[in-house]
Symmetry: C2
Subunit: 476 residues, 2 copies
C-alpha cells in the first residue's frame, strides 16, 4: 500500500504538528528527554494497535464514512430551516453544544448573528447550553417564535437541562401553533430507538435525526449532532468529513513517530507521568478557533479524568485542560506561563493564512513607539506575537508545542477534530483507563433528582439532608 | 468604632462566603485541617497589616473614594455616547477589556446587542481584545462608522495590540470625517500625562479620561477604564462603587477570621502550599457571572505567577486559574473534578435570587423521567444542580467553597470585584511576592518588537534568528 497516495498526506492543507519545544534538548531540565521518548516506542505502538483493534466499538471514528449516507437528508433539512427560519436554536448541553459552537465559530462569519439573513442567507444561530433563567428569558426576548426553529439534541432523551428547555419551548410552540404545526418548529436529534424523545417525536411526527450507537456525546460532532447545525450555518459538512478522513487515514497508516495524534498523546502522557504536568493549556491564536478549546476541554477532561482501584490503591488520572486565547491571554496568563511553576504543557494552535487581511495604516508616523507597526498587517502582528510567545515560553524552560493549520476551513477543521479525538483515545489506552465513560457525574445527577423530588430518589434525599450542617464558624 | 454600623455589614445584599468544604473535617484527608488553619492566624494577621500599611501605594483600593469626583464627567460622556452612537467599541486588551466585559455581562441584558437601541436606550457594545484580522474585518462589516464611538484604553499608550487597532480605527475615521470631527468618534482613556496617547488626544482635542497613578491594568475596573463602558451600557456605576466600599470596609475592620478576602487568600495559599492544589477552579452558576471568571483569571494568574531567587534557588509561584461555568461545565469538567486527582480547589459562585423567573411547564406528564421537572422553575433547577454538584465534589473528597450573592446587581458586583482584588493582594503578601508587577511578559513583547523590525531591537532579532533550527524529526 502506498500510504502517501492513499491518505493525500502531502496535501497542502494538511495540519502539521511541531513538538521540538517539548524536548529537554530545547527547553532544558523540565522537558522530555529524547531517551524517554524513544523508550516509549513500544508502549505507543501497543496503544495504537489496541485502539485499532477496538475500532468496531469506536463508531465515532467511522462517522466520516457512515454519515455520508445521511448528508442529503441533513442538507435538505438545513435548506428548509434556512428558508423557513430567522432563528435556529439548539437545545443541548455538553457534547451536544460544544461541537456546534466550535464549528460555527471556526467557519461562519465572526459576527454571523449581527450580519443579518439578507447577507448570510442563514438564520441567526443560538446554542443554549445552560438553564440560567435569565439567559432563557433573554433569548425569548429577542426571538420571534413564528420564525424560529428549535433543534433539541440529547441521545438519551433524559438530560435534565435539555428536557427542561424542551418543555419550555414545546409549551410555547404548542400554545402558539398547535400540535399539527409543531413539526415546523422543532427538530429532534436523539437515539434511534431508545429514550423519551423517540416517543415525543413519533407523537408529533417530528423530523428526527439519529445519534448512532457507540457515539458518545463528546465524540459526536461529526454526526447529525454537529452536522445539522453546521449545515444550517452554511458550512460545507462534506469537506469536514473529508478532513476527518484524511487525519484518520494518516493515523491508521503512519508509523508510530509519524502519527500526529499518537505522538501528541504520548507527549502529554509523558509530561503528566514524568514531568508533573497536571495542566494542559490549549492556546489557539485565532478568534475563529477560540471554542475549539472549549470542545477539547470536555473531550480531554471527561475522557481522562478517571479513578481506578489497583492493588488496593485508588489511582487518580486526569490532566486539567485550560482554555487560553492568543494574543488576548498574553495579557492575562503568559506571566504565569513564563515565570510560574513547571506544571503545565502549552499547546499553541497557529494559522498560517487568515481569510481576511487588515493593514495597519500610517497615521502617527511622528511617534516611533507606534509607527513601527504601520505598514505591517494584523495578520503579521498576530503571527509575530505567537512566535514571540512561543519563544518566551521556551526560553523560560516550559514545554510547549504547536499545531499549525495552513488555513481555517472545513477541511482543516475536520482534521483537527479527528486529531484530538484520536489523541484522546490513544491517551486513554496509554493510561490504561476507559476514555469513553463518565461514572463520576452520576452522584451529582442523582442529587439533583433527589432535590427536585423525582420519584425513586427518596433515599438520596434523606442522605443529602442527613449530611452534617454547615459550621457557622466557616461562613463569613 | 462600631464596625457593623460603619460597614453596613448586616446588609441583606452582603456577599457571603462558606468554606466548610475546604476542611478535612468535611472532605477528609485532602482537606485543610482546622489545626493548619489555626496555625495560620498570625501569618494572616501580618499579611493583612502589611497590605493595610501599603495602602498609599495601592490606589486601586481607594477608587471608590477618588472616582466619586469623576462620576459626573463619566455619566455626561456616557449620556453623549448613548445619544450619539449605535455602536460603542472598546479598543483594549487585558485589564482594559476583561473588566468591561465582565461587568456588562453581569448587569446588562444577556442579549443586549440583539435587543436594539429602541429597547435598551444604549448602543451595541463591542470589546475588541484581540488583533485577529478576521475579527477586526468582521466587526467593520457590522458597524456603521457614522454611528460609532470608539473608546481606546491603554494606560501606557504603547500596548502594541491596542495601538494597532487605534491606527486602523483612526485612519478610517479621519478619512471619513476629517480631523475636526475625530473627537465625536474617539474617546481616550490613558495616563494623566505620560505616553503616546496624551499627545494624540491633545492634537485632536479628544475627550480624555485618566487611569490614575498606582492603578495597574488588572486592578483598574473601578476607574474610567471600566466605569465609562459600564455607564454607556446603562449600568449604575455609583452603586458599584458603593459595593466596593462595603467590601473594603469589612476587610479593613474585621478580625482575621471574619475577613472574607483574607480567609479566601489564606485558604488558597494553604491549599497550594500543603495540599498540592496548583489549580484553582472558579465556577459561577449564572451566565451573568461567566466573564467574572475571565477577569479573575487575569487578576490571580498575573499577580501570583512569579519567580523569586531565594538562597540560590529559583522559587516558582502561581496557581493556575480555570474558568468553569455551572451548570454547563457539569457536562464537561465535573467528571474530572470528582474522579480526578486532588490537585485543585473549586470555588462555586452561587446566586440566591435571579432577576427573571422561568417556569418549567407541564407538557409530557405521561413521561415520569421528564415530568418530575414540571412545576419547578429554572431558578430552582440551576440552584439544585449547584448544591448537587457541591455535594458530589465534597463526597469525592475535593476541597471546595462557595461565594454566595443574594442577587446579581451593581452593589453585589462591586463587592465581588473588591473581594477578589483584596484576596489577591493578601495572597501576594502571604507568598512574599510582588503581586503588582508582570516582568515575565517582557521577553515576548521584545521578541514581537524584534520580529516587526522596531528600531532598537536589532540584537533581539539576531538572538531569535540565532536559535537552533527546528529538528524535522519532531515535526509531523
Amino acid at each position: 500500500m502506498n500510504e502517501k497516495t492513499k491518505c493525500a498526506e502531502s496535501s497542502a492543507l494538511r495540519i502539521r504538528i511541531d513538538y521540538n519545544n517539548m524536548l529537554s534538548t530545547v527547553v532544558g531540565e523540565h522537558g522530555i528527554s529524547p531517551a524517554e521518548l524513544e523508550a516509549m516506542h513500544e508502549r505507543l505502538a501497543s496503544a495504537r494497535d489496541a485502539v485499532d483493534a477496538k475500532r468496531d466499538s469506536m463508531r465515532w471514528r467511522d462517522l466520516y464514512i457512515t454519515e455520508r449516507a445521511n448528508l442529503s437528508a441533513i442538507l435538505e433539512m438545513a435548506e428548509f430551516v434556512r428558508y423557513r427560519a430567522e432563528n435556529f436554536v439548539v437545545l443541548g448541553i455538553g457534547g451536544s453544544a460544544l461541537g456546534p459552537i466550535a464549528v460555527q465559530q471556526a467557519i461562519a462569519h465572526l459576527h454571523h448573528n449581527d450580519l443579518g439573513k439578507a447577507v448570510t442567507g442563514c438564520p441567526r444561530i443560538f446554542v443554549e447550553d445552560n438553564i440560567d433563567p435569565e439567559r432563557m428569558a433573554a433569548l425569548l426576548d429577542v426571538i420571534d417564535l413564528d420564525k424560529t426553529v428549535f433543534n433539541v439534541i440529547t441521545k438519551s432523551g433524559s438530560t435534565s437541562e435539555t428536557m427542561a428547555q424542551l418543555l419550555i419551548a414545546t409549551k410555547l410552540l404548542l400554545d402558539r401553533f398547535g400540535e399539527k404545526d409543531l413539526r415546523e418548529h422543532l427538530i429532534v436529534t436523539t437515539d434511534k430507538e431508545k429514550g423519551n424523545l423517540v416517543g415525543i417525536a413519533k407523537k408529533y411526527d417530528l423530523h428526527t435525526f439519529v445519534v448512532p450507537d457507540g457515539v458518545g456525546g463528546r465524540f459526536s460532532e461529526l454526526c447529525p449532532v454537529g452536522l445539522l447545525p453546521a449545515a444550517v450555518a452554511g458550512i460545507d459538512i462534506s469537506a469536514m468529513l473529508d478532513g476527518a478522513e484524511l487525519m484518520d487515514c494518516i493515523c491508521t497508516n503512519a508509523e508510530v513517530e509519524k502519527n500526529p495524534a499518537l505522538m501528541l498523546a504520548g507527549l502529554e502522557v509523558l509530561a503528566m507521568e514524568k514531568h508533573g504536568a497536571n495542566i494542559g493549556v490549549l492556546m489557539p491564536y485565532a478568534d475563529s478557533l477560540k471554542y475549539i478549546a472549549d470542545w477539547y476541554a470536555q473531550l480531554w477532561a471527561e475522557s481522562l479524568g478517571k479513578k481506578k482501584l489497583e492493588g488496593g490503591r485508588m489511582l487518580r488520572f486526569g490532566q486539567t485542560p485550560v482554555k487560553s486565547l492568543g494574543v488576548t491571554d498574553q495579557h492575562s496568563q503568559v506571566q504565569l506561563y513564563t515565570d510560574g511553576p513547571f506544571d503545565k504543557t502549552i499547546t499553541f494552535i497557529g494559522v498560517e493564512r487568515f481569510r481576511r487581511t487588515v493593514e495597519i495604516p500610517h497615521v502617527f508616523d511622528d511617534i516611533p513607539a507606534v509607527s513601527f507597526l504601520s505598514g505591517h498587517t494584523l495578520n503579521e502582528l498576530i503571527n509575530a506575537e505567537r512566535i514571540a510567545t512561543e519563544h518566551a515560553v521556551t526560553a523560560s524552560g516550559h514545554m510547549n508545542k504547536t499545531i499549525l493549520l495552513p488555513e481555517v476551513n472545513e477541511f482543516t477543521l475536520g482534521q483537527l477534530l479527528m486529531l484530538f479525538e484520536l489523541q484522546t483515545a490513544y491517551a486513554g489506552e496509554l493510561l490504561g483507563i476507559d476514555a469513553f465513560d463518565q461514572p463520576g457525574v452520576e452522584e451529582g445527577k442523582n442529587a439533583t433528582y433527589a432535590l427536585l423530588g423525582k420519584p425513586g430518589y427518596e433515599d438520596k434525599l434523606k442522605e443529602l439532608q442527613g449530611r452534617s450542617a454547615k459550621n457557622d464558624k466557616y461562613v463569613i
